[in-house]
Symmetry: C2
């Protein structure tokens, strides 16, 4: 199965917790999950996997390049499947919805801005916080 293959090729022993966590990201509708989200989904799915293991596995997956970690406002880390396509995020201030986007001009400019100041860009983090102007925003409170 694909989960096991991904793990093996990432240099990770394929254990049950790792398979389940990876499957969550591959199957789940939500792309952006926190450690707590993952833990709850596993419990809800009848799995008996400890929270500590969830944190460990998520960090391993990040290091292995399977997941990308984001630091949105709110203190907690959020993970999403690394599908090679780098992108940044627009966070809706009304409903919290996260929309992905990628702007080549911004990407290029960032590298240049760093270089001009004597830095070699390693990575970057860009979030835009905004209000929906379209009527599709559910305005979900909280």
């Amino acid at each position: 199965m694909t989960g096991t293959t991904n793990l093996k090729s990432a240099g990770l022993k394929s254990t049950l917790p790792r398979i389940k966590v990876l499957a969550l990201f591959e199957v789940s509708g939500e792309r952006h999950l926190s450690a707590e989200d993952v833990y709850k989904k596993l419990l809800a799915g009848g799995e008996d996997i400890g929270l500590a293991t969830v944190y460990r596995v998520l960090t391993q997956f990040e290091h292995a390049g399977l997941l990308v970690r984001h630091h949105f406002e709110g203190g907690k880390s959020v993970f999403e499947l690394n599908q090679g396509n780098h992108h940044d995020h627009i966070v809706c201030l009304q409903c919290g919805r996260v929309e992905e986007f990628c702007d080549a001009a911004i990407e290029a400019r960032q590298k240049k801005a760093a270089a001009e100041r004597g830095f070699a860009m390693h990575s970057h983090s860009l979030q835009i916080y905004a209000d929906c102007t379209k009527p599709r925003c559910p305005h979900k409170p909280k």
Copy 2:
């Protein structure tokens, strides 16, 4: 004095802790301070101000627009004086030094990227994590 004036015009009662914290930012060489940094500097300066108060005051200042809060990697919030001049940050991966920069092209593009996707940008957060290419980096470990 200027500190008191700033506080009053921000709608805040001018108390000793608030005056001292604000003075720290106005006078101190470092522009980017965490709550812990502020607390330690106050102690070092002979002030007897509680950590809880520091956190409260920093948050109040943020809401009053006197300070801006940043969420760099590492979990802790970092504050700097709000001098009206928006800018983003390059964080050195070797020494942790923070350099400010502002790129008009990136700013404009962000607004446009949001607008194209049906959002009105309210604010944004951009950090570039990079390695110094110049020999000035002190490589201060941790």
